[in-house]
């Protein structure tokens, strides 16, 4: 089977030209399918779709029991392909992801491939639950898996060309958790925050509609493989090559970037914050290139052949907020400050 990979262009799929219009229809069906299982999270579904098409990893965070896992399972189901999940615990070791050892029925020791390797290169979704409960060793393995979509085990390199890593974490408790290192966070295309639906009808459905009570059967009721996950890499490349980013927009993104990194020079002020020493770092070039990648997908999903500033603005919070590192004194108020910083930057930087 001829499968494209992101990093190894040699075996890219060029067999059939992509029809972007019919693909857009498919992607819309994909969103609708997920929406059957997850109500009141239209924006999260949209963002996850963008991430899937842009081939980016996603970290979900939010309250307990708001449907993070359900959402990711629904996405994995609709996407098709091999799916694996692992629960983050404090004693999870990197080796637990790669293999597990046990005594078989005959009493002989056996080494079987772990969750990452079990499906070979067909693995399309790797779901890491409660990622902040795992140790930094695990994070660093994950870092390689996300960055290179490959892993070295049993003396050879395993490549997962279609792999997407979805992770979630809750922000409620901090005991026995390990904050993700900046390098790992930077490798997530998006960090999507999931909150309880505010719409009354959605809330009523969630509480009293019986189909939402049994998550397993709910997920099973979804159509499997709405998208041809094997060709998503080609689709992503086609979109990146088709959608126009004009020089004006390039300048706009650069201006936004500068303003985020040096808010004081851009004349931005935030209440009770010394903006001259607010931003300690971050907003990496990789992050910005991810942003542009996602913006192209957003434009394509909106039926446009050009990226406009609205695209950047729509997805900026999710694509960039987790990459901006603040001075320690402001870390505790992080959410609020980063939110106002981003809205101030968009209110300040002119476009076109």
């Amino acid at each position: 089977m001829n499968r494209p990979t992101l990093d190894r262009q040699s075996n890219a799929d060029t067999s059939a030209p992509l029809d972007l219009v019919s693909w857009r229809r498919d992607v819309e069906n994909f969103q609708n399918e997920i929406a059957k299982a997850v109500v009141g999270q239209e924006r999260a579904i949209r963002l996850l779709t963008i991430a899937v098409v842009a081939r980016g990893h996603v970290l979900l965070e939010g309250d307990v029991g708001v449907g993070k896992t359900t959402l990711l399972r629904a996405v994995a189901r609709a996407l098709g392909g091999a799916y694996e999940r692992i629960e983050g615990t404090i004693d999870l070791m990197p080796s637990d992801m790669i293999y597990h050892t046990f005594l078989n029925e005959e009493g002989k020791p056996r080494v079987d491939p772990g969750p990452v390797l079990r499906h070979g290169s067909d693995l399309s979704v790797f779901f890491f639950n409660e990622i902040n409960r795992a140790r930094p060793q695990v994070h660093s393995l994950l870092l390689r898996l996300m960055a290179e979509r490959s892993i070295t085990a049993f003396n050879r390199e395993h490549v997962f060309p279609n792999l997407l890593v979805f992770a979630d974490r809750n922000r409620i408790e901090r005991e026995e958790t390990f904050e993700l290192p900046a390098a790992a966070r930077d490798r997530f295309l998006m960090e999507v925050s999931i909150s309880t639906p505010t719409d009354t009808a959605a809330r009523r459905d969630l509480l009293f509609e019986t189909k939402f009570h049994d998550v397993d059967s709910l997920i099973l009721s979804l159509k499997e493989g709405v998208l041809d996950h094997g060709r998503l890499n080609a689709l992503s490349r086609a979109i990146q090559n088709t959608i126009t980013v004009s020089p004006v927009l390039e300048q706009y993104v650069l201006d936004i970037w500068t303003a985020i990194r040096e808010p004081a020079n851009a004349g931005i002020s935030i209440g009770n914050v010394d903006v001259t020493r607010l931003v300690a770092g971050g907003a990496s070039p990789r992050g910005m290139s991810y942003l542009v990648r996602a913006a192209r997908v957003q434009a394509w999903l909106s039926g446009r052949d050009m990226v406009v500033p609205e695209d950047i603005r729509d997805i900026f919070q999710e694509c960039m907020a987790h990459r901006i590192f603040l001075a320690p004194v402001y870390e505790l108020r992080r959410d609020e400050i980063v939110r106002s910083l981003i809205s101030a930057v968009f209110a300040k930087v002119p476009a076109p």
């Binding site: 126009t244 004009s246 004006v248 927009l249 052949d305 050009m306 990226v307 406009v308 500033p309 609205e310 603005r313 968009f346 209110a347 300040k348 930087v349 002119p350 476009a351 076109p352």
Partner: protein, 324 residues
């Protein structure tokens, strides 16, 4: 200034039935400052009572009185007032005296003649004393002394060749000019200036011209002016681009944040003044988006030509000013 000069006053303690010359009042003109050829008028009022009447036929006739004085005209009118008869005489003289120095001359007196001047009171009583009685029977116009002066150059050049005096010593000083009160006018002028400058400033403010060029709250007015300036310099692609940018900045300023195409309708909803502009705003933002973010610039100029851009800017500016 007329001199009031009473020739005689008669007392009225006699019975009202008696006939008498009650008064001859002479109103003289000034008595100085006459030159050759000047005229002067004397007004005389004669009051009689009872049967006494002025014999007007005996008044002097116009003509030469002396070698230097003509009586140019004489007129008289009569009226009854308070049971007495009043005669108003007006005598006009002209002087022909060529003075070589300031000279005093007398206009001669002349007697007035009366009918029944000496009529006696009906009750037969006689006047108290003789002089009083005489005054009641006759009257005359007294002489009038005037000062006739030479014409100036005659004095200075011909007659005072070795003059030792300055002209200012010879002549009376000029009458000081009467001061015209202008304090009120000055106040009015100051008030008008204040009103004018206030109105000018308000007008400049309204149009946000020079000192208020940067006035907040008039972004469209400013944009309109900038766009007109830009397009006056030629309507090529650079100025079209510049005009689009100017209008974008005006929208940003009006909204207090950056306004993108997707925000256009929300902007119109949030600012009721511009609600009527919704379709045009949408068209503007759509074409601007095409211009800046797609490869197809000509399509943008076709969709929203420069003329439409100019009209939109000026309409927005007008609405903005109308709101204020």
């Amino acid at each position: 200034m007329r001199v009031y000069w009473a020739a005689a006053w008669l007392l009225f303690f006699l019975s009202p039935a008696s006939a008498a010359i009650d008064a001859v009042n002479v109103y003289e003109p000034r008595n100085f400052g006459y030159f050759i050829g000047d005229t002067l008028e004397r007004d005389i009022e004669v009051v009689t009572s009872g049967k006494t009447e002025l014999f007007t036929a005996a008044l002097p006739r116009p003509g030469s009185l002396t070698y230097w004085l003509d009586l140019v005209s004489i007129s008289h009118t009569e009226r009854d007032e308070g049971g007495r008869r009043h005669y108003d005489l007006k005598l006009k003289y002209q002087i022909f005296y060529s003075a070589i120095e300031a000279t005093e001359l007398d206009i001669p007196a002349f007697p007035l003649k009366f009918k029944n001047p000496a009529s006696v009171a009906l009750d037969g009583t006689s006047p108290n004393d003789a002089s009083d009685a005489a005054a009641k029977r006759s009257a005359s116009i007294p002489a009038f002394r005037i000062i006739v002066a030479p014409l100036r150059d005659l004095v200075l050049v011909d007659l005072m060749p070795e003059k030792t005096k300055e002209l200012s010593e010879v002549l009376r000083p000029d009458v000081p000019a009467r001061e015209i009160p202008i304090a009120g006018k000055k106040q009015q002028l100051a008030l008008a200036a204040v009103v004018l400058s206030t109105a000018t400033l308000l007008l400049l403010w309204h149009y946000s011209v020079w000192p208020f060029r940067k006035r907040a709250g008039r972004p469209f007015t400013r944009a309109d002016r900038q766009i007109r300036d830009l397009l006056a310099h030629g309507a090529g692609d650079p100025s079209y681009r510049e005009a689009l940018l100017v209008l974008h900045r005006a929208f940003d300023e009006a909204a207090g944040q950056r306004i993108f195409s997707n925000d256009a309708i929300a902007f119109a909803e949030a600012h009721p003044v511009y609600r009527g502009f919704s379709p045009r705003l949408k068209a503007f933002f759509e074409s601007s988006r095409l211009y800046f973010f797609s490869d197809d610039r000509s399509a943008a100029e076709r969709l929203f030509p420069v003329e439409k851009l100019r009209t939109l800017a000026s309409d927005l500016a007008r609405e903005e000013r109308a709101r204020a």
